[in-house]
Symmetry: C2
Subunit: 128 residues, 2 copies
DNA sequence: TCGAACCCTCACATCGATGTGAAGGTCCAG
DNA sequence: CTGGACCTTCACATCGATGTGAGGGTTCGA
């Protein structure tokens, strides 16, 4: 598919798709006219990238961890350098902390919302 | 305490502490000489702000949700406007999705790391 | 009194993720 | 052949979080 369709199907601007490619997060073939040509799997890939980006990871890190994620692995072990392993471990821990913080605060928000509802079931609000 | 000590104790630059104040995330008293004066609780506050920031929330949102989080609530219900409630619900759900994505990918990384270790317990790596 | 180590404000710089638009090529339909 | 809807690259703009530094005040100790 071409960039327009991919943009449509992933809810991502063309600009960003080109940017992700530039950052090595997705790959695109080229038609004889120079147009980018994406295969079906790129849709999921882009969605995953968006998720990781939204979760706070920078493209530099996403690029590193992506190869370990989507595919049936086994072929990728030889690629794993010690630095790569270290980066992954570090990032795994960082993601754990991030998620903890997120969930802790989310729970506090949920608790607050519950309390508000219990206090004012009608939901009037702004009762200055 | 003054800004230097707060910076030291929270691992945050003075610049950022002033920025957080400008964004309404923390408050500071002022000494007669114009120096900022923080109370003890600000240390935890700053740490929490950093956590939320690192978890991907923008200061604008953090400012909205902070009042619901740290304190023993009950006084804050009258402040809760319907828009505020809506924002909180939205953000709670967004945080859930974010955390899910984070944990899913973290698990994938962890799984990959386990597989690598099982494959190469010695951890040689880079076996081009 | 001097200097060091604080503090202040203000403003410009940077970096990553993104938007926007210019200048131009390609393809298809009329 | 023309017009529109695609696509290309390039480059500048924006926005939030952050760094850096200039220009200047305060406090403290030698």
């Amino acid at each position: 598919m071409r960039i327009g369709e991919l943009a449509e199907r992933t809810g991502t601007s063309r600009r960003l798709l080109r940017y992700y490619e530039e950052q090595g997060l997705i790959v695109a073939g080229r038609g004889p006219n120079g147009y980018r040509d994406y295969d079906e799997a790129t849709v999921d890939r882009v969605i995953q990238v968006r998720g990781l980006l939204d979760a706070g990871l920078p493209t530099r890190i996403i690029k590193q961890i992506l190869p370990c994620l989507d595919k049936p692995r086994a072929i990728y072990f030889p690629d794993a350098t010690p630095e790569m392993i270290a980066t992954l471990e570090e990032e795994r821990d960082r993601m754990t902390r991030r998620a903890d913080c997120l969930l802790r605060n989310r729970d506090a928000i949920a608790e607050y919302l519950d309390a508000v509802r219990a206090y004012d079931p009608a939901g009037s609000g702004g009762a200055g």
